[in-house]
Amino acid sequence: MSRWIIKGLKTGVVTTRYPRHTEDAPGVSPGLPRAMRPGEDAGDTLGYDCPTGALRHVDGRLVVERGRCVHCFRCVRNVAKPAPWEDGFEWTAIRDDGSRVPGAFQHSIYICVIDAGGCGACINEIKHLNNPYYNIHRLGFFITPTPRKADLLLVVGPVTDHMKVALQKTYDAMPTPKRVMAIGACAISGGVFGSGFVTGAGIADVLPVDVTIPGCPPPPLAILHGLLVLAGRKDAAQALAPSLKSTKKTAEAG
């Protein structure tokens, strides 16, 4: 056992200096398209179709819906005029209806994670929150296997049909006060799967969403930012778009 202790000590501290300082190591975040800044010319930036509708032209302006972006990079690679892109990872959006979301929990947050049909990348990034590079324990955040102890539910995936019951039961098993965080494009908007016969268009159809973290998958730092917003230690990037409403259709059985 002592060998492991020595090995651990020898490795030194690799943990990010975020949130005290910024983190700009290469490869920590894929970035996201951003809205036009005043004075920038939208021009023909949309000579292509954004496959998930994250970018749209409205009255000559470029509108970005971050929760839909799946990082396909088609708007920046091999196009005449690339869409404006921003690095960074502080993308958290919160519900803004007067209810208390930022600073909902003051000190520590216990987190229950549920995979409602994700591709595995979001789950992997959540796992990495516990690796020494991010180490959320130092900030008072803990992943717990049981919803009974959890303050916060992290949901990934578009919500598949088979996971609906499990998702609802997990949510119901949590004590109040509780908050729900949608991680990634699928959980926010259905992502590449979208609303279909076995997939939903995000978790807003099933549970009340308080916080969303855009990205496909959002890098660990983006999720960490969301946790800090909930703990009142960082500000959210934006308010949640009101368009996050149910879009489910039904049809007669064939």
Binding site: R3, W4, K7, G8, T11, V14, P26, G27, V28, S29, P30, P51, H71, C72, F73, R74, R77, N78, V113, I114, D115, G117, G118, C119, G120, A121, C122, I123, N124, I126, K127, H128, N130, N131, P132, I143, P145, G157, P158, T160, D161, H162, M163, V165, A166, T170, V192, F193, S195, G196, F197, V198, C216, P217, P219, K249, T250, A251, A253, G254
Partner: protein, 523 residues
């Protein structure tokens, strides 16, 4: 043996069974077989000729069914049979070819086909406690855009029980369990200490990706191919692109082909590091898990820094890559990968001297070679049981034939053999990356790719094992049928073999040594 000789043998053994043989490129053939003779021919190929069974591809055409059974070995054989639409009954081959068991269950659940002689059909992908039988969502005419109304689930559904010993019970685990895990449910039958029968109940994450892909353009389907299993996204996207390039009858430019190998190996390295970290974590060896997780994070950052995305999304496209790389940056990544392997070696040396860790892996979760072959296991899990199948070697693609690398193989088939295999393959990946940057030619990374109507089958060795993509394109450039044959599907099929007759404490460790992806299985 070439196909001519194989077919003449088959013709003499099963007179009248084979109606037609169509040769395809790269030493493959499509063998049209009469429905009545299907069982015997498949039995012969699998049990006498030792072909690996890779999967079943079902297609519904306007007037008939077409079923293709994929056998791979030195040649790629598609045994094809058919029937008019109204005769949706086929003989089950799974008694002789056990690897076909789950494939037939899938076809029954999604297409409503019947396989005569199959012991257990129904309640597979669409759970019976959520959906009634007979929905068959993959049938033409089923609208995938809207949720099905008139749901009549079977409220009486109960888990299957085999164990009748006094005090026997089912220990349910999941679908939500243990921190951040993918959703899967296990029913473990036990009388107390030992897991005597294990049923993994999968498809909680069934997203109907194959159905969603139908009717979509290639560009849109690429997003699905890439993102249905994000941890191995590059390999899946590559298989899709190779299939499309077959239809366009082009090859990606040389530079793109080498870079694809470079990134595929970077992904394999990162995936294996994740599995190794998971194994350390499952035994409670937190320092080791953290040490390996550091390496995994570094591999993710290497990918993110070079290609713009930590999981390499959006990188490969039909015709090449979406982005050219700087040679020097690639060299640095290859050097960093070697550094990761060097540090991994240090961790490995400490691990094998940690007896509390080794006790949990050695002679735990054994899978024999016969079992691995019978269940059609793929990838590192199969190779740890001395069943060596690596598409990079037996069906080289994208230029792997010019690389010098080993396909590690182990004989014990226990948890430790699987750990050694993941370690050895990670080292080989770094070696291939080094060779790739040395061989990197100048030039374009993209060539225009105009796919024409037709069918294509492309395989790549994904990190979890060989995976095949079947593609049928119509004349308007939209997908008529898209089918994945994924390694996780076969490996989940055989997973229960490893956990049965071991104790509950061993279960999470065996699960970790399999390195299974739920998303890749569920689709």
């Amino acid at each position: 043996m070439d196909i001519e000789e194989l077919m003449s043998q088959a013709r003499s053994m099963f007179p009248g069974a084979i109606e037609r043989v169509v040769h395809s490129g790269k030493g493959g053939a499509e063998i049209q077989c009469r429905r009545e003779a299907l069982q015997r021919l498949c039995d012969w190929l699998f049990n006498q000729k030792n072909y690996h069974f890779s999967g079943l591809i079902v297609e519904e055409h306007p007037h008939n069914w077409q079923l293709r059974y994929l056998f791979t070995g030195p040649e790629i054989l598609l045994v094809k049979t058919g029937a008019p639409l109204e005769e949706a009954t086929f003989p089950s081959i799974s008694e002789a070819v056990h690897a076909a068991d789950w494939h037939e269950r899938e076809a029954e659940d999604l297409y409503g086909l019947t396989f005569e002689g199959h012991p257990l059909l129904g309640d597979f992908i669409l759970h019976d406690n959520a959906w009634q039988e007979g929905i068959a969502p993959m049938r033409n005419g089923f609208n995938p855009e809207v949720a099905l109304a008139n749901r009549l689930p079977n409220r009486e559904w109960r888990p299957r029980r085999i164990l009748t010993a006094p005090g026997a019970f089912i220990m349910p685990i999941g679908p939500v369990f243990g921190g951040a895990t993918e959703s899967v449910h296990f029913q473990l039958e036990t009388t107390g200490e030992e897991v005597i029968r294990a049923f993994p109940r999968l498809f909680f994450k069934y997203r109907g990706v194959e159905k969603l892909a139908e009717g979509r353009k290639i560009d849109e389907a690429l997003l699905l191919a890439e993102r249905f299993a994000g941890n191995t996204a590059f390999a899946h996207a590559l298989a899709f692109c190779l299939a499309v390039e077959q239809l366009a009858d082009i090859k990606a430019p040389g530079r793109a082909r080498i870079l694809r190998i470079f990134f595929a190996e970077l992904e394999r390295l990162r995936h294996h590091l994740g599995v190794i970290a998971g194994i350390c974590n499952s035994t409670g060896l937190v320092v080791a898990a953290s040490q390996v997780a550091i390496l995994e994070e570094e591999a993710l950052r290497l990918a993110g820094g070079l290609a713009g995305h930590r999981y390499l999304f959006g990188l490969t496209v039909p015709g090449g890559l979406s982005l050219d790389m700087n040679d020097q940056a690639c060299r640095e990544v290859a050097v960093n990968a070697q550094d990761i392997i060097r540090r991994l070696d240090g961790i490995k040396n400490t691990l094998i001297n940690t007896s509390s860790f080794m006790d949990r892996l050695e002679e735990v979760g054994m899978v024999t070679r016969d079992q691995a072959r019978g269940f059609g296991l793929a990838g590192p899990v199969a190779r740890a049981s001395d069943y060596c199948n690596d598409l990079r070697r037996i069906q080289p693609y994208s230029g792997y034939e010019s690389f010098d690398f080993k396909v590690p193989c182990e004989t014990e088939g226990d948890g430790y053999a699987r750990l050694r295999l993941f370690l050895a393959e990670a080292a080989q990946s770094a070696r291939i990356m080094e060779q790739a940057v040395a061989a990197l030619p100048p030039g374009a990374v993209f060539a225009p790719c105009e796919a024409t109507a037709g069918q294509a089958l492309a395989g790549v060795e994904a990190p979890c094992g060989g995976m095949w993509n079947w593609l049928r394109l119509d004349e308007y450039g939209t997908l008529e049928r898209y089918h994945f044959l994924t390694p996780s599907f076969s490996n989940w099929h055989g997973f229960h073999l490893a956990v049965e007759y071991f104790t509950f404490q061993d279960f999470p460790i065996i699960l970790a040594t399999f390195g299974l992806s739920v998303a890749e299985n569920d689709r």
